[in-house]
Symmetry: D2
Subunit: 354 residues, 4 copies
Amino acid sequence: MQLAMIGLGRMGANIVRRLMRQGHDCVVYDVNAEAVQALVAEGAVGADSIPDLVSKLQVPRAVWMMVPASLTGQVADEVAAVLEPGDALIDGGNSNYRDDVRRAAVFRESGIDYLDVGTSGGVFGLERGYCLMVGGPDAAVQRLEPIFRTIAPGPGEIERTPGRSGDFAPEEQGFLHCGPSGAGHFVKMVHNGIEYGIMAALAEGLNLLENADAGIREAQHSAEIAPLEEPEFYQFPIDTAKVSELWRRGSVVSSWLLDLTAAALNQNPTLDGLAGRVSDSGEGRWTVKAAVDVGVPVPVLAASLFERFASRDEDRFANQVLSAMRLQFGGHQELPSGDVLEAGSRRSESGKGS
Amino acid sequence: MQLAMIGLGRMGANIVRRLMRQGHDCVVYDVNAEAVQALVAEGAVGADSIPDLVSKLQVPRAVWMMVPASLTGQVADEVAAVLEPGDALIDGGNSNYRDDVRRAAVFRESGIDYLDVGTSGGVFGLERGYCLMVGGPDAAVQRLEPIFRTIAPGPGEIERTPGRSGDFAPEEQGFLHCGPSGAGHFVKMVHNGIEYGIMAALAEGLNLLENADAGIREAQHSAEIAPLEEPEFYQFPIDTAKVSELWRRGSVVSSWLLDLTAAALNQNPTLDGLAGRVSDSGEGRWTVKAAVDVGVPVPVLAASLFERFASRDEDRFANQVLSAMRLQFGGHQELPSGDVLEAGSRRSESGKGS
Amino acid sequence: MQLAMIGLGRMGANIVRRLMRQGHDCVVYDVNAEAVQALVAEGAVGADSIPDLVSKLQVPRAVWMMVPASLTGQVADEVAAVLEPGDALIDGGNSNYRDDVRRAAVFRESGIDYLDVGTSGGVFGLERGYCLMVGGPDAAVQRLEPIFRTIAPGPGEIERTPGRSGDFAPEEQGFLHCGPSGAGHFVKMVHNGIEYGIMAALAEGLNLLENADAGIREAQHSAEIAPLEEPEFYQFPIDTAKVSELWRRGSVVSSWLLDLTAAALNQNPTLDGLAGRVSDSGEGRWTVKAAVDVGVPVPVLAASLFERFASRDEDRFANQVLSAMRLQFGGHQELPSGDVLEAGSRRSESGKGS
Amino acid sequence: MQLAMIGLGRMGANIVRRLMRQGHDCVVYDVNAEAVQALVAEGAVGADSIPDLVSKLQVPRAVWMMVPASLTGQVADEVAAVLEPGDALIDGGNSNYRDDVRRAAVFRESGIDYLDVGTSGGVFGLERGYCLMVGGPDAAVQRLEPIFRTIAPGPGEIERTPGRSGDFAPEEQGFLHCGPSGAGHFVKMVHNGIEYGIMAALAEGLNLLENADAGIREAQHSAEIAPLEEPEFYQFPIDTAKVSELWRRGSVVSSWLLDLTAAALNQNPTLDGLAGRVSDSGEGRWTVKAAVDVGVPVPVLAASLFERFASRDEDRFANQVLSAMRLQFGGHQELPSGDVLEAGSRRSESGKGS
């Protein structure tokens, strides 16, 4: 089958490669001509503009956009302007599902099928396949199934879920028509929201393990600093790289994110060079906002998002306000920072009425 | 090698089976004589009391306890009373690591090696192997390594972590000497704390997906109830059984807990018959308390614990207080429960000053 | 000064009364003619339609709307249709500040000044005065200051903030021009978000006090249920009505919400008759969404919102998923509900590997 | 009545002053002889050792300790050694209520009444009075009531709670016998836990107000940084000093902590000089641990505690782990810090698959 790809960044290019390996024909375009040339060298047909790309496609056409979310609207308009009724336009990027709902309604008037495809897989997708969450009209999704089946991981060697038998359902092959326009990115959004929560659970737990030796470290500062309560219970210098490797086998928390954590800690056990200013990429925010809209409590997902904000010091004024109140009601001065503080901050003050 | 097992519940019995399959000799005891007989029929040596059990062991002896945490202290004392210097006593249950620290110090005086072994694997451990987190003195841990290696899953077919090569390290085989006495159960405790967080992340996300059709349901109640803001964005009847199956392939959230979720939802897509009163089993609580002790923030792990408390209505008085305040300052009456409330509770009231 | 009021519910009517007591002239309208008559009897000029109301005003006119947020847009359009350039339209309801930003831009084109006034005070406002958070164009705000000053509480007997002297600033009198259109309702929104957090802090703390006797109650269920760890430390039957009264004097948590809590608990110490299904009224949701938009961490405000959702069982499917997972990996059955559970749910299970 | 005071820090000394102003006799001791002299100059009887202090008291004696919690145990033992049956020993510091439970049991054997008195009031207590939460045996509490009544604020001019009439109950005078030994500090502990929650609610809300101009600031960085979604809704430069003053009048969030916040922001609107590294003083931690023990959900109180930990960078390793995972699965590099980041961190990345 034939697919056009606009946007040849890491993900777009690797999806093209995965399709070509299975015999699909790809026509490719990117604002960066070198990215086009690289894929032409691997067998793709190149295009030097969106109209050129569209002109090289058989009808009904299928055009996949894999561009930054901030550009998707503009690119979609440009493509739609040269498509014809019956063609399909696919947004495989990380768009807000609300944009899909809006765009699909617009393009529907022109007879163009608009599909939103949440795509998970990251840098490993070329080999591992991409998990595809698809939203859009039934007929178009059905027509493009060969494409989705190829991009997706397939059933692989993953143990089959008890109760399932016979032919593999689409979801067992790694793609699913989740519902009408927007449903694909909605499911992808929630997927990423969950991702934040799992990441935070692992990170918080490992941080606790990393500090399981607080009772030992405390002793080194005994002169200036009041001791940790019950330091005898915090005498464990835990090797988090080994523990994360261990948990990959037979534990309840085994997961792909744990695999990655084990790899990261094996390479760099102290994580030197990372400042711990954690970015977030939209879907975590949209997940919390959607949950608020429909009244679903998501304390864990929200907490994991807010931890990231705080990691970037977005809590600064709030913390200054807290210190200011403490100064007002108790005359409490902030502790100085520095080496002493590191130990000091791990214990509580005491004996000061408030 | 020879191992004695006290406590032949599901986990104790299956550990014995796994050991015997690999040629180890097991002497077994349980207060339930039938449980003993069942394993004798499979090749174990039976005992009818703790002294009997100990008398059937070669020195240096190794006795593994797999009993409810509330009984461990008492059983440990009974066993220790008939052990000799150089013997090893292993607690494989879900003890609080603080008890290990205390007990190890006591038994050390008698020359008995006390080991704490956090054991993860649940009902799947017999086939999959148990992930073992070991705390205790070096020499004893080393002596018992053949036992640990057999109980553990082994390297299996799990892809090796990049950067690791050569012989498989213990952690790659599924067991790890985590540190001195208590370290095993400390790491297991944190493991379970993380487990709570991952479970909550998945559960919250799936709940949001389950409510992604709020805009459709709202319409059915339009007469009495003010509409959801922007119902057009919540028109997705998502099949959570299919989505959880989908995510098992190529997604970032793939994990064993997701595998189990997919299985549960495949069997019972609406989860009928479950009341959603979620129990907790100690380690999640201990994790939060340990984090508080050492001053490590664990908002996600704590939120996941508190969700469980709230699922059992432990938040009832707090919620009554909130309703009482609202009644005081705004004259707000509680909405009646029932069918109308289900829709109504998903949207906000408006237009009432406070 | 003259003010027209549309919407004579509790707040609208009381604002009119407060204005008339200070000599202002009020022209009033409501869809409910009885509400109009009641205020006419107290000295207001009545109107039987919006055009009638507007026709009775001197230019430049000032019309205050105090209607449910869901109707504000429609009423504003009706009023604006009969206003003239230079007139002012005031929304004193609980609108989303985003609606103010949009409406103000529209009305600005017609030369009408649109003001948004967040109004706090609840049922106590008539006597206590209303705290006013005003957004809109400078000149109009200045023109209406006599109105705001009268509706606001005034400096009262509240101790003056150290460092302030001379004439009372507007904020010391209980009204403030917070910024351009939308700023008033933005500040009111955040006010309510904070209100949720303070309410939750009090409610959670009182719930803990209410359960400080867990160690006593446990003993009554000792036959079937494993004991609370360390019940000796939870032997306190605390009188929360007395404690909340106590804290009103000299404590750090003294606050108006505490005053109300003390009143509620004094009337009804067990809060019988309240189901604890807590409503929320929009602003808490908007606060969390705004914080997510600008990347400000609000874990406490969000947690307080999610507690309300959970109080209405919006966490049900999530909790069922958790129980389903536990059943899968550990064979854990849910505890039965009922009397025993009440005690049982207050302690942790133990001794079950996972 | 006569009272001995050990520990003449700010709170101990001011309690003595408050007692002497009302005609009570005070005998005072501190390791710092100057502190003793200062109070002697104001009318107290000085002592130069604990035995000296005790020798100067009439039987039955009453000794109040106001020393750092870490010293309370030692001082209590020293005092008890020279007390006699029928005497009373009072711990007014910030002790863990568990220590009271333990100590009271010990001293009970010697016939000494041990009272625990949670004392709130901070630097304002001398004038405002101290809110007293009292635990201990009935007879001793009754005997000391004149002391408690004097230290407490009294009914003051605070509006009486509806439904209360007649003589003022103790709780209306600012002191309360909360229950048996430990109950006083238990209630004080929860008080402080609530205090953390209220403080956090105010601080988070003010931080959101402080960032309500994000849409304006964004524009200044437009070259390098993708825009905030919908910057048109974040155009408000809010004056948080004025808003906190405003809310003191007629708003739902009016509270003593808000009064202090208004004072702090009036003095120093930008809070320059405060680093925002917020200390915690034990009770917040104990509150969370007690809630975990009895299974009461306290998501807001816990979140407020964890925010403080995070303000001191105790989340560092967790955040590094998160960045490490992101690097693994998506090749995401951390953003550089600095001026650009300040804007950049306020918006989300987009268009990068994960």
